[in-house]
Symmetry: C2
Subunit: 282 residues, 2 copies
């Protein structure tokens, strides 16, 4: 019977450590503050922002939300980013995804000062990540590695399969796992036979957003399964993996909720603190 | 019986087109010029520089070599890069690899103006590549795609295996092939069973530098084999692939020499011209 990888508990543990670090910074007059730019009124975005706010409050980090209308122009978005780039009290800037179609996201991201790029989405920070020089780490990928490390699951020489090639999860996770000497396969919507890959994976990561995508016959006996998917089915939050059926077959599996989700939020806070410390030479 | 993918011929064809473009630029008073910084006296480096020089001359591009001593200090390297960054006549700057141990290569690369980064090794250009926004393309990866395109070998939905995770070949090639909707596996020295992956690959790329690494039983019937390796064995240049034994089994294979090598050099010249045109608004 597989064991759950308890992301919620690890996130709480790490948050407690972070809280102590933040107290110390505050006692020196340094307040970790980051800004979330939210454009439009996507209900999931609002929920994520609320979840982040709760964790930030707990740790002592200030999250400032810039709520912009759905009709927001590109130009005034860039002007806002410029202003936040200049603001010495701001240590992190992130754009909540998704953005409305009139927004050129790449241009907006490229506008963020890499020193305040808490999501690791500016070109130079992405490039640094790929060459093993981590200025910041994307929250989800950081969370996945923290969880594997906590349970002493090694990546060296392992066969890793990542489903999903997004800039926020699949690609950066591939970079970090490759750096840890895993052999990495990146699958996506155009991959014809997912199972051909997944059934050989020592570590399987699904980051698609498709409930029940991963069924038991797709998973190797004693594999480690990391479920990054978040889907709403019958008013319940579920991942990409059919956990009930797969848990008996594997060695470790993340629950949804309570797996990677809380670690992503907590990891984001770690990046805010990292950027704050660096900016203040701490 | 497999067909050779004739990189030499394609490189010559593309060079002829490039030559016309360069003539036109020159008639407008614009001279494509790039600088190669070579530190120490690695014989292979000197050979590569000579090969590049020959192609540059043919096309009408100026290659300027800065030959620095093996004992070159980091500081004076950075000063040289600064000077070339400032020089309006210089459109491309590259550091010939390898560099001696006292040189901090990452720092030096980060020093190059991304607008002159002809090798696509500065962090921001690497990051742009990974998000599908190609400011420049690394020469070898560009050459591989040009060759596949020329022979109308599609990447969409294909199973690609890349052996080698270097910053100059394996990683950028993975980015470009993923963008073309291939499913990409990245293998390396810590991969335990190369054959487990290679024998299922529709397209197999070896970029290791190890003669006879790829034997017939590792390759799928009718696969496409791209050999990026360059090895000297008994005074002959050979790739990573045992071509004689493998050619009968596959549909296409690159020869070594005459495959990816000439395309890499020609692709570099394309990048020089691309940067020159962009800088001049052409």
């Amino acid at each position: 019977m597989g064991q759950f990888l308890d992301g919620k508990n690890l996130a709480d543990e790490r948050a407690a450590i972070l809280k102590t670090q933040v107290s110390k910074l505050k006692s020196q007059g340094i307040v970790p503050l980051f800004c979330v730019i939210n454009i439009g009124d996507d209900p999931s975005s609002k929920l994520y922002i609320k979840t982040k706010k709760r964790r930030a409050d707990e740790i002592g980090i200030v999250q400032k939300v810039y709520q912009l209308p759905k009709t927001q122009s590109q130009q005034s978005l860039l002007t806002l980013i410029d202003r936040l780039n200049q603001d010495k009290k701001v240590y992190g800037i992130m754009i909540q995804l998704p953005v409305p179609p009139q927004i050129n996201l790449n241009e907006a991201l490229e506008h963020i000062d890499p020193e305040k790029d808490v999501d690791c989405l500016t070109p130079s920070n992405v490039g640094r990540l790929w060459r093993g020089d981590h200025y910041v780490e994307p929250a989800t990928a950081h969370g996945v590695l923290a969880l594997l490390d906590h349970y002493q699951i090694k990546l060296h020489g392992k066969k890793v399969v990542i489903i999903g090639r997004s800039s926020i999860v699949g690609k950066p996770l591939a970079a970090l796992m490759l750096e840890r000497d895993a052999t990495v396969s990146i699958l996506h919507s155009k991959t014809k036979q997912l199972a051909e890959y997944t059934k050989n994976a020592d570590i399987l990561v699904s980051a698609v957003g498709h409930a029940n995508l991963i069924t038991p016959e797709m998973v190797k006996e004693n594999a480690v399964v990391i479920d990054v998917g978040i889907n709403r089915v019958n008013n319940q939050t579920v991942g990409d993996v059919n956990t009930v059926l797969i848990k008996p077959k594997v060695s470790f599996i993340t629950p949804v909720p309570g797996g990677i989700g809380p670690l992503t939020v907590e990891s984001l806070m770690e990046q805010v603190v990292k950027l704050t410390r660096r900016k203040n030479g701490r």
